[in-house]
Amino acid sequence: MSAKNPATLIRLGAFSVIAGELIAFASQLDVGPTPFVVFIVGGGVLTVGGALLALYGVLRSPAASA
């Protein structure tokens, strides 16, 4: 399971997106600066980073033959 394997990149990215979206949602359950920071740092960074990683993996995946 190489880190350069497109499937691995997609899995890592998807996992990060799931974690990021859940953290982003959970941060909305409370009011205050700390949830806001959690939203930006946890939700934002994990989601955006994961999405970029997954998309890179998708682009590197071999196209299906007809």
Partner: protein
């Protein structure tokens, strides 16, 4: 249409869709380039996460206008406690419901931190840094002198304002900020030096208004 649906429901649905779509790629990464795979990838990793984060940011910015948000920081407790002191300008506004209690701070500080331009937002981030690292200035001061605009957008044109002695003659000075409303109407909060530090360190407790969901009940 969207405003008819409560924000939490939109956030829950968007998050659920986002998690399910991403989970599909987590379990079956091989479908990324098969059939509708690329389109689904764009939806799962661009459209839906963008929607989830936009909804979240909108909700967080909305929540940060709440009195509850401001008073969640200990260093703001001295200022928050003055909302209960009818001798202060803030307290008079709060007691008489001149400001909505849920957004008492924001109503009079509309261009503070997150709600102004880029420089104001950078100052807002600086406040977070100060909150978690060093400690606030004591006494806390606004960056710029308080603008009469914040008072006039409610009071100008009101009969009680127009009929008050001196207001009519000075209205242009008020608009131009050459005479501050606070010169006569003070103190705005009346927080003494040292109180902010005591509150930040937890050395003194302050009575705070209850402005949660139960506010407005009998």
């Amino acid at each position: 249409m969207l405003e008819l649906i409560p924000g939490p429901i939109i956030a829950i649905v968007a998050t659920l869709i986002g998690v399910l779509l991403a989970a599909d790629f987590l379990l079956r990464p091989g479908r990324a380039r098969q059939g509708a795979g690329p389109v689904m990838a764009a939806v799962a990793f661009i459209a839906v996460p963008g929607l989830v984060l936009t909804i979240g940011a909108e909700r967080h910015i909305g929540m940060s206008k709440k009195t509850e948000f401001c008073l969640s920081c200990h260093e703001m407790h001295p200022h928050g406690s003055t909302l209960l002191d009818a001798e202060t300008l803030a307290g008079k506004h709060f007691a008489n419901r001149y400001v909505p209690r849920e957004q008492a701070c924001y109503t009079c500080h509309t261009e503070y931190t997150m709600y102004g331009g880029l420089s104001a937002k950078m100052k807002g981030l600086q406040h977070l840094l100060v909150h978690y690292s060093g400690g606030p200035a004591d006494p806390i001061k606004t960056y710029d002198p308080y603008k009469n605009r914040e008072c006039l957008h409610c009071h100008e044109g009101a009969a009680s304002f127009d009929e008050a002695i001196g207001h009519g003659d000075e209205i242009e000075s008020f608009r131009a900020d050459t005479v501050s409303c606070l010169e006569c109407h003070k103190p705005a909060h009346g927080v003494e030096a040292g109180e902010v530090t005591k509150a930040y360190r937890g050395e003194k407790q302050f009575d705070l208004p209850q402005v949660g969901a139960k506010d407005g009940a009998h």
